[in-house]
Amino acid sequence: MASDSALRIENLTKEFGGVPAVSDASLSIAAGESVALLGENGAGKSTLMKVVAGIYPSGTYKGRMFLGGEELQCRNVRDAESKGIVLVPQELHIAPNLTIAENAAMGVLPHRFGIVDRAGLYRHAKACLDFFGMQADPGKPASALSASEQRLLMISAALSRAEPRVLILDEPTASLTEGEARHMYERIRRVSKSGVATILITHRLDEIQGVCDRAIVLRNGEVVLQTDNVTNRDNELVRAMIGREPETAKNRAVSAGGKIALSVSGLKVQGAGESTKPYVNGANLDVRFGEIVGLFGLVGAGRTELAKAVFGAWGGDVAGEVSINGVAGRPRNPKEALARGLAMLTEDRKRSGIIEGQSVLFNMSAASIERVSSWGLIKRRQEYDRDYGLARRLDLRPLKLSKHIETYSGGNQQKVMLAKWLATEPDVLIADEPTYGVDVGARYEIYQVLRQLADAGKAILLISSDLEEIINETDRVLVMYKGRVTGEFERGTARHVLMAAATGQSGGESVPEAERAAELQ
């Protein structure tokens, strides 16, 4: 094994300010093999892979690495790329105003004597789009692609950059739906079979089966487990990731819910002044006090747009009825929505959630500063005590309110965001993808808080693309398809039924045969 390994890492240690992020890690991966690198946030997965990809150049770490038998020492990312190591980071950098073609060729614009070769540019972009079977005009701005399409584009663009020998994907499916993820993995599998060593960083155990040959688990910077297959080892892997017995999902009673807390009828959401197809087209739904309602659907089904419109945060045109807590009338802006007891945990944490450069305290109080002020004066003691209590309740780690939010892990940032909305003491909470990019431990805590809220009589609309989450954490599931709520299901409905509804196969709406086939791809 060691002799024909594509990538071998020996006793690698990487420290930051004397504290090891990766300590004494050794592993090897064969060509053509696909390995899952598992671990909670902060376990050192990304750091280890950044060392491999040259982001931390040789000399900044201890230990040795070998690429196909030769010692690997990279001066920088370019150097690593030229040796065939491709890292697709979790956070993608897309220039939304540039064209799809320009984004795909970022850094490697084809040119002749300094003049961009437009034909070559478009050929390259077309190839990148075709790789994942996407239909789009390369001349359109990248913002025309959905978030998941952008991700697929960046993956294929990264692959096209060099002849890859080692491919590292950092949480590639974080913003993809199950169908899209499966589709992507099929392609990745094909790349891997052609002799590329593939490393998949993830903490979603459900998706590694059938994709990865082996799993390597990191905890606190150390390799704690290496398996030679991944079938039916979920419990063992989770135990290795979190270092203790995983909590088993309790069989709780389904909450029937009380009075209607949030009611949406005939909601239509469109871009400002656009005559194009609306994102949401006549959606109806009810959420009752005391229940968690799941809103499931594929990316592009209109879930986030619906949530934004209900919260008064949609920039374009909205029509339809919304009633909150029995009071009719659509909120005109988030301020009004908040005043009426509605809160929304936003989907895109980095862009519209956390306020970077500011402390945890400022972030936590952002939506509720009026509640701890009188006549515009902040009562600082009261603010601190309240926020500290919330941080304790959500088990923020480290528990320090003066630290800048961006120094926290994704899971802890999300806890702060949840605390921000809890501080507004909402009657209705819309949580849009609350566990996106959140590690297993923090996920569990977030679910617990949501459940506590529902038990305390609040209404919760949980928007998610994660079927496990939808099935395990909600009392009732609504499925959205093409801008409408097309199905309502009891708790305990099988996955394939929900998936079928989300892809338009049921729910009473007839879908043309060709369109259905396209959705199922």
Binding site: G17, V19, N41, S46
Partner: protein, 395 residues
Amino acid sequence: MAETVDTKQAAPMTPIAQLGELVGANTRWISMILVFVVLAVIFNVATGGIFLSPRNLTLLMRQGAIISIVAMGVSLLIIKGEIDLSIGSAVYLCGTAAATLQLHYAWPVLPTVAVTLSVGLLLGAWQGLWVVALRVPSFVVTLGGLLAFRGLGYFLTDAATLAPMSQPYTALSEGFVPVDFSMIILGLVFVAGAAILVLGRHSRSDAGGGVFGLLARIVLLGLACVALAWIFAGYRGIPNAVLWVAGCGLALWFLMSRTVFGRNAYLIGSNREAARLAGVDVKLHMLGGFLIMGAFYAVAATLATARLSASTPALGQYLELDAIAAAVIGGTSLRGGIGSVGGAILGAALLVTIDNGMSLLNISSFVQMIIKGMILLVALAADVLVNRSRSAGGH
């Protein structure tokens, strides 16, 4: 996401950072005060003891008053993620209003100041409305103001120098609080400051320091008061211009650090979209910021015309650049969300010290401009370096 955890390990603290932790000031403030002390010593030696005389220091404070006022105002706008390039021209236009009232209509001081203030607020509202209602970037709106306000002033006055202002009006900036009153004021400042430090210690429960830190802070406050007492007693008392700076500074500091308005200013500057989604009325806050800036145009104009006892066509020229430079040297980030009133005042103090010291040394004003430009560059580069080493190993 995972990488963010890796970077949070505290790097070994530098001595400056430890000092900062103890007295509850940030590293930048300590460095700025150190630079200030070093400069003062150099200038003092080079001028044979003139620089650190009470008379010169009093003069320096009077010179610094106008820049301090506009630096504070513009730092508020920069914190919110906006900019103001029109400061110099807006101050000039306010100044012509004051001078016209004084000369042509012989108005008393108070109504003159009131009308000047209204003109300032009007200019602030004008620019604020373009930014808020029509969503024109503030860079462009205030660039327009830079041209139009001075043009309007020239048109109305035929670009004439309007002088002299009345004696009581000049005293607004050039007068002094008698020495005995000055000492009483300083004593009260010390007592009030110490009381705030003692009573406020609980609200810092998250930050370090302890009893020792509290004592250190009180001792520092005492030393500062003693130094000021030496300066004011050694010349003619507290210059009135300094009272304006102290008043505006205290008001703005309180606004920025203790009120909802100030809190939201930082949130808007750091992430406008997130602030909006958190229910912050961004437009209203933005308009408020421009109105405050407008009030500060008027204060600066009053001080400037009182100081010169005139409104000259060159009044306020390049003032916006000095203001922005002072704010930035004082730690205001041009990307928004970071900065403080105290920092802006310290930044202005540094700029004026350099001006004053070089003038005492008879360095040509051309060379002074070069040196000031270089200092701005070095200050920003140092800032970038410090921030980079702090987040080393990060993204």
